[in-house]
């Protein structure tokens, strides 16, 4: 499985996700600098977490206009799977590859802790390693993760199964007390219309082995590695 990780100035989870990709696929990803304008042939593109451009103007706003993002958008349109984690999710919304926006956390604080997520759509390239409705423990680490979309967009996401992941209690209930950042409908991760782009605020790459305190994130990378090898 050939993957590319896009590296922006201020990305800081690029190496973590590279480790996760190599652990699952056996092949290290190509690391691509944001100033490049072309992408090599690849089966998966990852936009990693971090604080690209210092979160200036809005989180992800500058990175979304980087030269490489034109190539990412073209590949996404052509069907290449694209995974945006944390800042990567913010960049995907800023680039218009996913609907909505990620606003300042409702409590205004930066939150770094494990949360529980319910897999609300396991029939995707990214989540097929999980059972429908499975509850997983994955860390979040962000200041701007409060998902917002207008009511028409939100309803459309809900009606078409594009909410892949939701913040939940440890027993899988969608409650406001399990919502760390004020996201509408407890949304933690969404898909684009074609299903080949997933953005999520939590960090699956941070929990891929028991030595790291858990391995609930591993199934996402295992699924991606398998799927693209078959394709």
């Amino acid at each position: 499985m050939k993957s590319c990780v896009i590296v922006f100035p201020g990305s800081n989870c690029d190496r973590d996700v590279a480790v996760a990709l190599e652990a699952s696929s056996g092949t290290p990803p190509r690391m691509i600098w944001h100033g490049e304008s072309e992408l090599p042939a690849c089966d998966l593109i990852v936009l990693p977490g971090g604080f690209s451009h210092g979160d200036y103007l809005r989180s992800g706003a500058m990175a979304a206009r980087a030269p490489i993002m034109r190539a990412v958008a073209a590949k996404a349109k052509a069907g290449t799977p694209v995974l945006g984690l944390c800042n990567g999710f913010q960049i995907l919304t800023e680039a218009g590859l996913l609907p909505g926006a990620l606003m300042r956390n409702a409590g205004l604080k930066f939150i770094c802790r494990d949360v529980f997520l319910r897999v609300d759509n396991s029939d995707t390239l990214f989540t097929r390693g999980y059972r429908q409705g499975q509850v997983v423990r994955i860390p979040i680490s962000h200041h701007d993760g409060n998902y917002f979309a207008d009511s028409v967009t939100l309803q459309h996401l809900e009606d078409t199964g594009r909410v892949a992941l939701r913040y939940c209690t440890d027993d899988g209930l969608i409650r406001s007390e399990a919502n760390p950042n004020g996201s509408l409908n407890n949304i933690a991760g969404i898909l684009n219309e074609a299903g080949n782009v997933l953005g999520m605020m939590p960090h699956p790459e941070r929990l891929i082995s028991p030595e790291l305190g858990g391995s609930d994130g591993r199934a996402m990378f295992d699924a991606l590695a398998e799927l693209v090898q078959c394709a």
Partner: protein, 80 residues
């Protein structure tokens, strides 16, 4: 030419920072603060003297980068 751009959150978009500011003002004893909405202010110096062209360019700058029109509105003031 000098342009002043105000960027504000759209109506209906929750503004937790504005709420926190309103609360802090009331803690300081300022009464009657009914709502606070916070936003951004950007100044741009532009070459050229055609205000129509400048306005069109500023509008494009706002939609392409300066504002996120999913959640924000913008207004442009231009000093000729």
């Amino acid at each position: 030419m000098k342009a002043r751009i105000h960027i504000t959150l759209k109506k209906g978009v929750l503004d937790p920072q504005g709420k926190a500011i309103a609360k802090a003002l009331s803690h300081l004893g300022f009464e009657g603060v009914e709502e606070v909405r916070q936003g951004k202010y950007i100044e741009i110096d532009l070459a050229g003297d055609n205000t129509d062209t400048a306005r069109a360019r500023l509008d494009a700058m706002c939609t392409q980068l300066l504002a996120n029109t999913v959640i924000e509105n913008y207004s442009i003031e231009l000093d000729a």
